[in-house]
């Protein structure tokens, strides 16, 4: 089956900065794919190259088998991009913007039903005849999404679609995007909110300094070594100046942070038993008044991988 997006050894430099150092990536049809990375990792550059907004120095990209340079018309017909920046045309109303965008893709009145559906799904129906200038930031963001979907593209790229968006809109948006994915659209998402990626994406690529440093299913990433750890945070009755000698060395080794009444231990979630650890601490004469546990999530994987790369 043709890949939704096939990226082959894509390189891009801006002056002396190597923004992309040879990216290879295949995004399958129907996937909900997460593209993560810190600021400046090259995510937007890669998206711009896929969308034809930037030209790669080397390598090739195709969307549904259409090269984005040679067969740009077919590639762009298959692709919808929600840009990161809140851009809008102040001359037109919401409906005019959508009808014009639809026309660029060769669609006429026959697409009006879909435009109405989009307005409805994004709760924009009552704003259809309002000028873009008069909309709030959240409303403008919804119009951007509608614009990107107006030609029913099979592949949809959302570049940080929830940056600065309130909780309600975020929920509405993700509900809508999940529906699209269920209908067979391929979704590529970049986001800073890792819990969103963790919740939505099937497969995730982490980009750092223009390279793919991790590419796996969400489940595999969450089963990695980093995610086998469990953090136990303990609050003690008295501040601890020095660890008591009675505390077993095996427990001492697990303490990663000690600050006054707070102690942070790193446990192996498969081997260590929390009750035993607590008992050992109590036996050493430390009185525990409160505790909480933290499981490693995608954020820890992300931080571990990106910081490892930075220090190497």
């Amino acid at each position: 089956m043709t890949a939704a997006i096939l990226i082959n050894n894509v390189k891009k430099s801006y002056g002396s900065l190597d923004a992309l150092k040879g990216i290879d990536l295949t995004i399958n049809r129907g996937e909900f794919f997460g593209l993560l990375g810190p600021n400046g990792a090259g995510k937007s550059t890669l998206i711009n190259i896929i969308a034809g907004l930037a030209n790669a120095d080397a390598g090739s990209v195709s969307v549904l088998g259409h090269d984005v340079v040679v067969d740009y018309r077919q590639a762009r017909q298959a692709l919808g991009v929600v840009p990161q920046e809140l851009v809008f045309d102040a001359f037109f109303s919401v409906r005019e913007v959508l009808k014009i965008q639809s026309g660029y893709f060769g669609l006429g009145k026959e697409n009006d039903v879909w435009i109405d559906e989009l307005l409805e799904a994004l709760a924009l129906t009552d704003k259809a005849s309002v000028n873009m200038r008069a909309l709030s930031g959240g409303m403008k963001r919804r119009v951007l999404i509608a614009q990107a979907l107006v030609h029913k593209p099979e592949v949809v790229i959302l570049d940080e679609p929830t940056a600065g968006v309130d909780v309600e809109l975020r929920k509405l948006l993700w509900g809508f995007v999940e529906q699209l994915n269920q209908k067979g659209h391929t979704i590529v998402l970049t986001t800073h909110y890792l819990e969103e990626a963790e919740k939505l994406c099937d497969r995730i690529a982490i980009l750092n300094h223009g390279e793919v440093i991790a590419l796996d299913t969400k489940a595999s990433l969450l089963q990695s070594e980093i995610c086998s750890k469990l953090h136990l945070i303990i609050k003690t009755a008295e501040p601890i100046e020095q660890l008591p000698d009675a505390l077993a060395p095996s427990i001492r080794d697990k303490i990663k942070h000690l600050d006054g009444c707070q102690m942070r231990l790193e446990l192996d979630k498969d081997k260590d038993v929390i009750v035993d650890v607590l008992a050992a601490i109590a036996n050493a004469g430390i009185k525990v008044v409160d505790l909480e546990t933290e499981r490693a999530d995608l954020e820890d994987v992300f931080i571990e991988l990106t910081s490892k790369k930075a220090s190497s």
């Binding site: 034809g52 907004l53 762009r76 991009v81 840009p83 920046e85 045309d89 001359f91 026309g103 660029y104």
Partner: protein
Amino acid sequence: MINRGFYTLFYKETLRFYKVALQTILAPIITTLLYFLVFSHVLKDRVMVFEDLSYTSFLIPGLVMMTIIQNAFANSSSSLIQSKVTGNIIFLLLTPLSYVEFYMAFILAAMVRGLVVGIGVFLIVICFVSVPVHSYAFLFVFALLASAVLGTLGIIAGIWAEKFDQLAGFQNFIIMPLSFLSGVFYSIHSLPAFWQMVSHLNPFFYMVDGFRYGFFGVSDTSPWISLVLIALAFAGLAKFAIKLLKQGYKLRH
């Protein structure tokens, strides 16, 4: 059948200036009428241009052409720079429109604006002054070609400029002086030999001169020479503009 993508862009570019018609149509008509009023009043008894032709009549074709030139340029250049600065040009760049469709839609909308304003000026002034028409064919060809050349120059300037002041520079230091000094207000035969020669280097001179021939059947240079020169300029500029669009110069980074 006309391609719908192209037609939509042309429609959008036309709708864009129509929505602010006060600024894009009415204002330039009023400005040109003021020029007409002041210059014809001050100079009508002092300047002799062509035999048997009043200065007031002489002024009309030049002013109409100057209006066409300035407005055709303003339309494509301002639309492009605005979309670039605000960033919404991205929604145009993401579409499957070809470079030629992009170019054609912008230039045609620029021509429509130039011609609408030019015709507006013309219709008002002929209510007060009689102007003969020697050749409708020459009138139309020169009006169409001049607006196409300026629409294309507007696209080039709009692509090149990154900020509004760069575009204003292009407009105020190139388009305005060249259109003012193209023989709108005088026949270049009244100038000293050196300035006559300099005027022949001004491409806008041929637009005004050829257009004037369409009205009076008299011109400083043969209208055929003007026609060929403008057509060549158009071909060269169009090729250059399409090349810039194809390369994505300053549009696709």
